[in-house]
Each structure stands twice: as C-alpha cells, then as structure tokens.
C-alpha cells in the first residue's frame, strides 16, 4: 500500500489510494484470514484518515471537501469492520456488534455526503450479509420525544431556523440536529431503529447476543 507519509498526493491520487485500501479490506474481511492482516488494514486506515483530514483542511472547495469526507467515512467503515473481527477473536460480541453498526452507518453516510460516495455502497450489502451470518436477529428500541430545544451542528442556530439538513455534508462536515432539551414520550420496540446499538441485551435471563443463560449476579463465581 502507498504510504501517506512519504509523498504529497493529489486529491485524485488520494481517492485512488482509498479505493485500494477498501479493496484490501474486502479481501481480508473473512473469518479464516490471518488477524495480523486485519490489524495492518486498521493501521493503514488510521494513516489514511489522517491524510484525508489534512487534505480536507487544506482545500477551500466545499464539493472537494465533501468528496474527501465521503472517502473518510468509507475508510472509517472499513476500519470498524476490521475491528469487528478483532472483537470476535477476543470473544467480545458486544464490541463486535458496535463496530459492525458503526461500519454500516459510515458507508450509509458516505453515500449522502457526496454523490460519488454512492460508489462505496457496495460495502453496505456485504455488511448486511455479515450481520445476518455472524449475529442472531436482534430486538431494537427506539425513543420518541418532543423536542424543546435543538441546534444545528453546522451553524449553531435553532435547527428549524437555518437551511442545513441533518445527514448532509457542508464544507466537509456532516450536519446533525443536536437535541439539547426534550420531553420523553415513549420507548418502543421497533424493527428498524435509527441507532441499532439501542437493542434489548437480555431477555428472560438469556443474553440476546450469545443466547446463553446468564448467571444471576449472586451466583457469578470468580475464576
């Protein structure tokens, strides 16, 4: 893999390097592949992210910044996917689930950040398949609330008073609606939550990830 530290790259060269990195991530993203190779990809991802952030800062062009942001999100997704495998090797199912959700969300955001980011959607379907193969079906939670005070992450104005739209990219940053004060209405069980980390973790004494019966706290023995 080309090193970001050793050379100054044009934006196009950077994006081509990102494509190579993502191809390598796909190549090693299998259960039987040597964990060292996955760790190497994470290391390349970190280096690449630093390069993309620096390039984003250096350019004045909003569209170019958004394009670099889309690449950044795709690389974040690849890194999270590699880390999912590391968590699984360590027997940390919760951590693995969190990384997979992060990877799925990142590639989705990349597709919205810039029109060219839709090319990264090729990983979305693959990650959905990984989810269905590696983890049992989960039950999710969703909150409903009345927003009393909010703001836009781009301009800090109340969200309904500015022109920025949440999830879209502006000058290389994703817009979010920051809910600062809200009244809780309800918590529901839903099939498709906006945050799939909000899930039922235990049902009737069983861990919903491992499906193993959990020991009551007073029966847990020290090993």
């Amino acid at each position: 893999m080309p090193s970001w530290k050793s050379q100054r790259m044009s934006k196009d060269d950077m994006l081509a390097t990102v494509d190579l990195l993502l191809a390598e991530a796909r190549r090693v993203s299998h259960l039987t592949v040597d964990p060292t190779l996955k760790r190497e990809v994470v290391s390349y991802c970190n280096e690449t992210l630093a390069g993309l952030k620096a390039a984003k800062k250096a350019t004045e062009d909003d569209s170019a910044r958004n394009r670099l942001l889309a690449a950044e999100l795709a690389v974040m997704g690849a890194s999270a996917e590699m880390q999912m495998w590391q968590h699984l090797e360590d027997g940390d199912c919760e951590g693995a689930w969190g990384c997979l959700v992060e990877a799925e969300d990142a590639v989705h955001a990349a597709g919205i950040a810039h029109v060219d980011g839709s090319a990264y959607q090729v990983d979305a379907q693959r990650r959905l398949m990984l989810e269905g193969t590696l983890f049992p079906p989960q039950v999710f939670m969703s909150t409903g609330m009345i927003v009393e005070r909010d703001s836009c992450s781009i301009c800090s104005a109340p969200y309904d008073e500015c022109d920025h739209v949440k999830g879209r990219a502006y000058g290389g940053e994703l817009c979010t609606r920051n809910i600062e004060q809200a009244k809780m209405l309800e918590v529901s069980i839903v099939e498709h939550p906006s945050d799939r980390r909000c899930r039922v973790t235990n049902f009737d004494g069983f861990d919903t990830m491992t499906l193993a019966k959990e020991q009551p706290a007073n029966q847990v023995t020290q090993g």
Partner: protein, 159 residues
C-alpha cells in the same frame, strides 16, 4: 398505488385550531384532523428537513404555526420515515414534480442500504378551490412515486 378521496376543509380546521397556514406547500402537523386542541399538535421531525429541501429547490414551503411560533416537533428514533401530510395550495405542476422528487430523494437517502425494497407511504392534500380539498394517498416503491405526481396533477385539473 395512489388513491384519491375527499378531505376535510383544511382552512376551516386550521381556523378552529387557531393555526396559521403559510402559502404553497405546507406540512400539516400530526393529529391535524383529529385533535381537540392545538396544544396536542406536533410537527413531524421530517417536516423541518422537507421544508428546507423544497425551499432550496425554489418551492414556497412551510409549516403551520400557532401564534406565529412553530409547533413543537416530535423526534422518533426509528428509521421508518414519518412523512407528514402535505397540503398543496395553488401550486404549479413544476412545483408538484419537484415536491415528489424531493420526497423520493429524501426517503431514499434515509433508508437506502437498510431495506432491499424501500417503500414510502404519504398523503397529499390538494386544495381544489376554497373549502374543497382532496386527499391523494400513495403507498409503494420510491420508483413508483410518479404515480403520486400524476394523481395529484389529475386531481388539480379535474373540476
């Protein structure tokens, strides 16, 4: 498939509730047709984004207000898009086409990659003349939204 039915007199209902209706494309609050008092009304969270996106396309759009203030909005953290009821008042065919495109792109951006076959459910109320309103309901694929556009245009010209 798009289905057309009669709808309540929106202007009269808004007046009963003390609401102000802006011009053009208006996103009606949840419970508009059913609540007892305006205090129960809530704007759908998606309405704010849709107003911004339509205005960016040059379409006059807004939300109902109460005493000049926006109604509180509801935020629900599931990915199903709670599209608000859309009211069209004296809107041109071009604006109708833009509105349908904006709706489709908005839903697609939210749920692409999450569902194999994303579906959308939306109700559009068309003002035919003062006091007369028709509702066009559509449920189906994003690609099929052209049916909604055609049904709205049909209702708008049908006298």
């Amino acid at each position: 498939m798009a289905e057309t039915t009669d709808y309540i007199d929106v202007a009269k209902r808004a007046s009963e509730l003390g609401l102000q209706l802006p011009e053009g494309v208006v996103f009606l609050p949840r419970g508009f047709a059913t609540v007892t008092t305006a205090g129960e009304l809530l704007n759908e969270s998606d309405a704010i984004d849709l107003v911004k996106l339509l205005r960016a396309e040059g379409v006059t759009a807004g939300m109902t207000t109460l005493g000049g203030q926006n109604l509180p909005s509801i935020s629900e953290h599931d990915i199903l898009v709670h599209l608000p009821v859309v009211l069209l008042q004296a809107v041109s065919p071009t604006a109708v086409a833009l509105m349908v495109d904006v709706l489709g792109n908005y839903v697609y951006a939210l749920i692409a990659g999450v569902f194999d076959k994303p579906r959308v459910k939306v109700e559009v109320v068309v003002q035919k003349k003062p006091g007369t309103y028709k509702s066009v309901r559509y449920e189906g694929s994003i690609e099929g939204l052209s049916e909604l556009r055609d049904a709205i245009l049909e209702v708008a010209k049908d006298e």
